[in-house]
Amino acid sequence: MIEVDHLSKRYLDVQALDDVSFAIEQGDVIGLLGPNGAGKSTLFRIIAGLLKPDKGRVRPTIGGPTNGWPTIGYKPDRLLFPPGMNVQQYLKMIGRLQNMRGSEIRRVMPTIIDQVDLSMVLSRPISQLSKGMRQRLGLAQVMMGDPSLLLLDEPTNGLDPAGQSEIRDIIDQFKAAGKTILISSHQLHEITAICDRVLILSNGRIELQKSVTEALAEKSAVEIHASHDVTDLTAALQTLAPGIEIIENTILLTGEAAIAQRPAVLGLLLNNQYDIVSMEHKRMTLNEVYAEAVQ
């Protein structure tokens, strides 16, 4: 859909983005992680066209499904809405800006409003909405006009756990509808649950760019405890795959290749008259992957 190509952006003496490259394909749900000041919002604003990069560019993928620039729905990190408008007026205005006709707006708006559960406050001034409702309105405006790319900058920011869960459910619905989404969040469990791919930014640079499954599997480990010291089998075990470590009666298999050799390791132990006391699959959480990447 779009390619982010060697993007750099500097604010006075701060390098906000430094040679950032990645691609967003149709149907991708990408989680953008990073500490405050890592450059996430700058990246969103450049993709949304609000900021101009110093170097590099954002361009539509050649031969992509959107046939040129995708239409973009953008929810900024800050919850700001025009004063003096109610929910309905605001969504109608966004629809008109997306070239929707009046009849189309009347047809589509109820579905979106139901999806984000704002039907009870349609005529209420936006200034009187709670933070959770304003976040939902932010998501509703993103959906108006059925844009092909959704940019969601910290959509659960400042919400309590119940509010976060509600917003997560809404984003899950967007995902189920096949939307292409770039989402940033400090809630790592949220990214694990929603996203297919993860990008970790630190000091303006991409430190990790993988599918969530890969990122978690790469750092996972299996720990096998034998009945007694297995150091005699060290040579035999280590020929099976890299990432196999033996410490007295414990065998540690780290990384996908080593974990794949688990049956062979167990077979070797049993053939050599060792009993298996326990076997534990230790999965690394995204928190640990993130902490390691931004160190």
Binding site: R45, L51, P83, R96
Partner: protein
């Protein structure tokens, strides 16, 4: 594009008419009426005065409304709106239309009140048909000129350059032989002072500038002052109650200025970072 621009114009009009700036616009119209057009038993002003006074009021109000409207556009709540537009210039166009519509509406209301009130201004059809191009040209020029003073449009040192050039042109327009004599003398003193300090090159340059100001500076500043001809022509024509064939071109020239300034503003806006404010 028309749908997007009209949507944004209506949105900005609604927002401005409920704002303090909108209130000030209405209040200033009322004050203007009270000062100039309240009969209070005296004789009614002529229609030419109405054309000029309300035209100048529109010029000033357009300038101030543009500052206020552009400040509202350059806020964080506009981010989702900008993202939906194929071109940022649509927002600029909407801002200009909002200001022009709001100002013209107040001008027309004011004129209507002045015409229909007892003891008001006598309506002269031949003069009335001259009003719309005059007021619209003045309002649009003021709005587009004011864009360059706003955060929405300014890019780098653009504000300093544009208003600096305007200041120089204004100076040129009011320059006479006495002013140029004073300028020549000032430059001559600086040249002498620079020579005494041993800054020969600077001294020579200043001396040349001083000589130039004395000999041909006036011709040059008079030539620069031509830029303000449309304003002079409009005021003369409006006061006379009719425009001669060359004066009638003045609103068109003003619109040409507005077009150039708008293109410049559009280029600045299209290429700048939008650091929208909270």
């Amino acid at each position: 594009m028309m749908q997007r621009v009209s949507t944004l114009t209506r949105y900005l009009l609604g927002r401005q008419s409920r704002s303090v700036a909108g209130g000030i616009g209405v209040l200033s119209a009322a004050i203007l009426w009270w000062i100039f057009f309240n009969p209070r038993g005296g004789s009614a002003p002529e229609m030419s005065m109405l054309t000029l006074i309300v035209g100048m009021y529109g010029f000033g109000l357009s300038f101030l409304m543009t500052l206020s409207t552009a400040a509202k556009v350059y806020r964080g709540d506009s981010a989702p709106l900008f993202v939906r537009l194929p071109s940022r210039i649509e927002f600029l166009t909407a801002t200009m239309l909002c200001v022009a519509t709001f100002t013209l509406f107040l001008q027309l209301i004011l004129a209507l009140v002045v015409f229909i009130q007892p003891g008001g201004v006598d309506f002269v059809f031949n003069q009335a048909i001259q009003i719309p191009p005059l007021w619209i040209a003045l309002n649009l020029f003021a709005a587009v000129f004011a864009f360059h003073a706003t955060d929405l449009v300014q890019s780098g040192w653009s504000r300093v350059w544009i208003f600096g050039v305007a200041a120089v042109l204004l100076f040129s327009q009011s320059a006479d032989a006495r002013t140029m004599g004073w300028l020549s003398k000032l430059l001559g003193n600086w040249a002498t002072s620079a020579g005494q300090r041993g800054w020969t090159q600077i001294g020579t340059s200043l001396r040349q500038a001083s000589n130039w100001a004395f000999e041909s500076g006036l011709d040059f500043t008079e030539a620069l002052g031509v830029v303000f001809w449309p304003f002079r022509a409009i005021s003369k024509g409006a006061l006379a109650g009719s425009f001669n064939s060359s004066q009638a071109l003045a609103p068109a020239i003003l619109l040409l200025y507005a077009t150039i300034l708008f293109l410049l503003a559009a280029d600045f806006l299209a290429h700048k970072d939008l650091h929208l404010l909270d």
